[in-house]
Symmetry: D2
Subunit: 402 residues, 4 copies
Amino acid sequence: MTKTLSVAQGREYLAIPGPSVMPEAVLRAMHRPAPNIYEGALIDLTASLIPDLKRVARTKHNAAIYIANGHGAWEAALSNTLAPGETVLVPATGRFGHGWADMARGLGAEAQILDFGKSAPWDMERIAEALRADADHRIKAVLAVHVDTSSSVRNDVEGLRALLDEVGHPALLMADCIASMACDRFEMDAWGVDVAVTGSQKGLMVPPGLGFVFFNDKAAAARDALPRVSRYWDWAPRADPEFFYQYFGGTAPTHHLFGLRAALDLIHDEGIDHVWARHERLARAIWAACEAWGQDGPLRLNVAGRAHRSHAVTALRVGAPQGSALRAWVSQNIGLTLGIGLGMAEPGDPAWHGFFRIGHMGHVNGHMVLGMLGGIEAGLTALDIPHGPGAVEAAAAVIAMG
Amino acid sequence: MTKTLSVAQGREYLAIPGPSVMPEAVLRAMHRPAPNIYEGALIDLTASLIPDLKRVARTKHNAAIYIANGHGAWEAALSNTLAPGETVLVPATGRFGHGWADMARGLGAEAQILDFGKSAPWDMERIAEALRADADHRIKAVLAVHVDTSSSVRNDVEGLRALLDEVGHPALLMADCIASMACDRFEMDAWGVDVAVTGSQKGLMVPPGLGFVFFNDKAAAARDALPRVSRYWDWAPRADPEFFYQYFGGTAPTHHLFGLRAALDLIHDEGIDHVWARHERLARAIWAACEAWGQDGPLRLNVAGRAHRSHAVTALRVGAPQGSALRAWVSQNIGLTLGIGLGMAEPGDPAWHGFFRIGHMGHVNGHMVLGMLGGIEAGLTALDIPHGPGAVEAAAAVIAMG
Amino acid sequence: MTKTLSVAQGREYLAIPGPSVMPEAVLRAMHRPAPNIYEGALIDLTASLIPDLKRVARTKHNAAIYIANGHGAWEAALSNTLAPGETVLVPATGRFGHGWADMARGLGAEAQILDFGKSAPWDMERIAEALRADADHRIKAVLAVHVDTSSSVRNDVEGLRALLDEVGHPALLMADCIASMACDRFEMDAWGVDVAVTGSQKGLMVPPGLGFVFFNDKAAAARDALPRVSRYWDWAPRADPEFFYQYFGGTAPTHHLFGLRAALDLIHDEGIDHVWARHERLARAIWAACEAWGQDGPLRLNVAGRAHRSHAVTALRVGAPQGSALRAWVSQNIGLTLGIGLGMAEPGDPAWHGFFRIGHMGHVNGHMVLGMLGGIEAGLTALDIPHGPGAVEAAAAVIAMG
Amino acid sequence: MTKTLSVAQGREYLAIPGPSVMPEAVLRAMHRPAPNIYEGALIDLTASLIPDLKRVARTKHNAAIYIANGHGAWEAALSNTLAPGETVLVPATGRFGHGWADMARGLGAEAQILDFGKSAPWDMERIAEALRADADHRIKAVLAVHVDTSSSVRNDVEGLRALLDEVGHPALLMADCIASMACDRFEMDAWGVDVAVTGSQKGLMVPPGLGFVFFNDKAAAARDALPRVSRYWDWAPRADPEFFYQYFGGTAPTHHLFGLRAALDLIHDEGIDHVWARHERLARAIWAACEAWGQDGPLRLNVAGRAHRSHAVTALRVGAPQGSALRAWVSQNIGLTLGIGLGMAEPGDPAWHGFFRIGHMGHVNGHMVLGMLGGIEAGLTALDIPHGPGAVEAAAAVIAMG
């Protein structure tokens, strides 16, 4: 690697796929004394969050907030829908599909995985086959990862609902929107999703620590039919509390609630449709740059088809060890942190160093994306990694478009 | 109520039994951009927390951190030790004993409750009887609430271990230290506690959002013998992670970790023994004031015996509706928030308004306690609640003692 | 000194007469990125401050903001009203009267001081004599310290105006309200004050760094008649700017403006009349405690007459070395910082250690004052300083009054 | 202007030439309660600042801190060196030279201006002529603006000292380093500068509110020879205080001192030589981009010669109304704020809209500069402003250089 004068001292830019960049307003809102948790302003603030969360998930149904990360929200969703011994179908397009399946197994469920590799979206035909093969409807739920953060594949959740209906399968459609909520368009009710799961630290722009589960009446009925639900994960009192503490199954996550209020204000002030459009525009700018760097060279996008790429995260392949070298260079030299290539190879395998990911979720705008792309351009140059010209200009042109 | 010129505009003082007053250093440490969660400083910071948490719990054994509140930590502890159908014994001295028992039931366990009312500590004789009656050792664990936040009763956990040993019962001794950790003396290893549970928002002085479970080898063996443990609650990978994300079963609670680091620095800079001594001294000051206000009048301490009173929380009885009136007065007139009387009567019952609680846990010192007591003195005066003289002076004398 | 277990770890309470306790809302408002200083929100925010500042000073005339401390604001006021060789009359009731006089001398003016000692208010007769003796009106201005922070004497500014009118002297009446603004009642226009000076760090609850000068048309005419005014201190463009930067004679004090906006919101949400009433009530509570501790013993209030005591700061005499010992004890043992006895004796003189001061200005409420008094009670006890009983109860009774 | 989907929601980037981007560490350090100003940690903290400030200015002589902006620091420097009626020589290369001259006039001095326009550096020959023409040494001081923030011209201060020595003129050499300190190399002692002036809000990365004046023994002697110095501006007690409050001529600027400590830590941790090299590298990257956009087109650098360009600020010409249009576009569409073109035309003159400036001072690194340049690229494209290709790549190549 060329020795370079470090010009890193300045604002750190964390361009990993979660946690995302926290808005100043969110961090400021969290910097306050502990509030009363039995009376007073926190009660009203919490009540105000529920409808605003539902507006983000595009649902008129129910919302439950958990003090938990995304994995906790996964377990919450499963705990309210599955009894030990029941079966889930998991079409996987990256590490996180496998992860959710594993979580189901930890609760005693059977997980039937359809593995579509690490670069391609669901093959609807194979899913249809699996559903049709399940003549006695042993499959209780389909665990559908909308955007797999590891591969940056975006899947067609709406199409999956159409498929279930077409096949006539009664399974619950459960969507993992952890990476996509408030980034990629997602319409829970319109798309016929029964349960949607997300976390606080990506499109919702709040530090990790909250998980969210949205569920409709069909899912509620599934929970009511279970012999038992863990008190902590039970969504019923959380979604319809008689007493304030039931929102959170105990002590409220006070400071996260302040932050979430600020974040939802940002989202709704902008408008969720505009938020989605912004993410799409910025994703297209990133793709334009990546395509200019090369489509057949060492650096290329992990997902070939535009329709299957997330607007929130982009996985890239550059060959080992250049993925890790590039991340190290931009971190040490220009103050930019890129995401590791997660789940594309095993840790320990030299191939592990051949990937990296860009997070572009939440609080992200034009100059940030252009700075990140300019930084990769500098890193490719410094490391003599072959790449085509005009990448940042191509991205700027997308951003400049009418 | 007398009409009073409000002199409330100023620093709010939240003297409820959790969340406690957050130190400036903790809030400042949390006001920072999101960090990388796969590499860099957060990894070292997290590793530094584990031994420092164990020093607070006085254990050389294992620590697991959960993104959860205290109820989540309860469920975590139970999930690693109980299979459905197994039995726990719960000696209850307030609402929280019943709550933990209910959590066990939610996991399919049987909970045998010994109810000691709302003002008295455990009766060791009754516990001994129950243990002796369990000749075939169906009781898998005893759920021992060290300090019940609702009643402010403090129980003799060390004595319970002696009792178990004397009776020769193999049940796990599981202690709820949510209200007591880093306030009242607690010695996990020396006292023979197998599992200890706490949360972030009381003596640990961090916003609600983290739960902690400490466990020894006997408890670890119990977990290993279970047929299945939920992935989220499983303490094994959290206490001994191969990869960083396993500490938290997924995304790390980044900002809480920054806050926890600052809080543990405060605790260990002071010294845990000194922290306990400070809480004891301040508790004695509060008791002195309360005893001066009256021992037979309307206002009196909920717990008669000093040995059975918590050093972190104090429940008081003042008769309905004066408990609620006093809380309202100090809030509106002098900027002080006192805790509601939790679990002493049912909501809706007029008697509910006859209690209040004082939190004196964590980041609390002499002028705070004296201001809180002076504020109650003013409220008692304004509301014409009979009370004896010299209360604040009695408290000041305790604080002034050599 | 008795050895005491320190119960200081907790919230620090800075009860010195400035800087005062900063509200959370002010500090939070200042924790934000730098704004544009030529366009955008800062311009509107600044414009909003001017009328709100005038409402605090009770004037319809002009306001100039300086990046400066109170001494800078003193110099600003003098620079706009005095030419070298002109004379000011300074009735002094503590160190700060002498300080302002010295500042005038630094600008080449003559300062005629009437010294009334360190515990007594102005003697109007002596001032009348001095004015009458000035038959040819060489006295250009009277520098009137409303509250002298060092002695806590409060002077009758309204009466001084009456006196000037009665004597028929044309001197400008210039008031130093640094310690009194937004604490003790002050009515610039109604009282006939021509120039009023204050700073940000006391009743205005913003960190030190801003000075304010209010002036009426008579004062404006005095400035216009000067041969020359320094560009930095010239109040004309600041009070009536054509371009934004003229408000501040250059770069705007961005973060202080954010803080000041938050502080003025607090003041006007409460109402300036209520702010004054709160300060008066809390001052009376403090006096009640001090009078209970003793009126003839070692500890006593510096100012005998209630009408002449500030509502923002209280100076006490306790005898050397007990003043310093008490301050050290409460700082080390209970987390409370009291003010040094400023200007009552010379540094180096053992008598210097016989005084201390309490700040009770700005963001201060009932529990704070009671905690501060309780803390002094504890310190007096620990140090065996004789004191009467019932002090905190007396204060609480004042606060409880209808 | 083309209608564009705004992709502005995200981190604001203020790329104006002061205030500069504040580091998180600085803002966090300022978010704390008021400290004691007579005793305790603030005293030591302040003492630690002085040597560290001198290291930044590269002087072993004296430093005085003022609560003031840069204009205040200008007036401070003049107040300690000039008596009314004395003369200063001011070689001006932009608005700020004229501003400092005007400040001198406000103090009663004569200002002899040599105007070199708005795009060119000093002409040493003309300065030499002026000095030689001053045979009786009426010129007391030369006011030398190192970098004029309005034009981004950087002048040869070291060469000016050589010229003074060559001509044998005893005038004080006073340098305005407001825009250059801790950005462009500046060596007070080695270059023979007698007085250097700067402010807090540019290379020093602290909010506006502090001014700094460094002075050597020759300058100190000049002050001692003056008949009178204003108390507020007098540098003698500030640079050599007997009592703490003399550092600041009154109340200390508490929160700015906390911030300054954090900023100086950042600077010295990086090393002042490295700080200069970073600024130079980033400036060269910006120039490379600007030169690629065009050297003969509408968009061009204001200063032709590299040796005469600041490393902290860059003024550009793009023709009216495109300067203002571009600033508006990047602000509204990508979250980037560029500086107005100050002093290049009069407000009201349409030509005013033909300029803009980029601030790249202080807390600035590679990804920020590349994002800013990418943002301008997008704006030029959106607005159809002709510009050459390869600009951001050219900048990235400079950053990637070994």
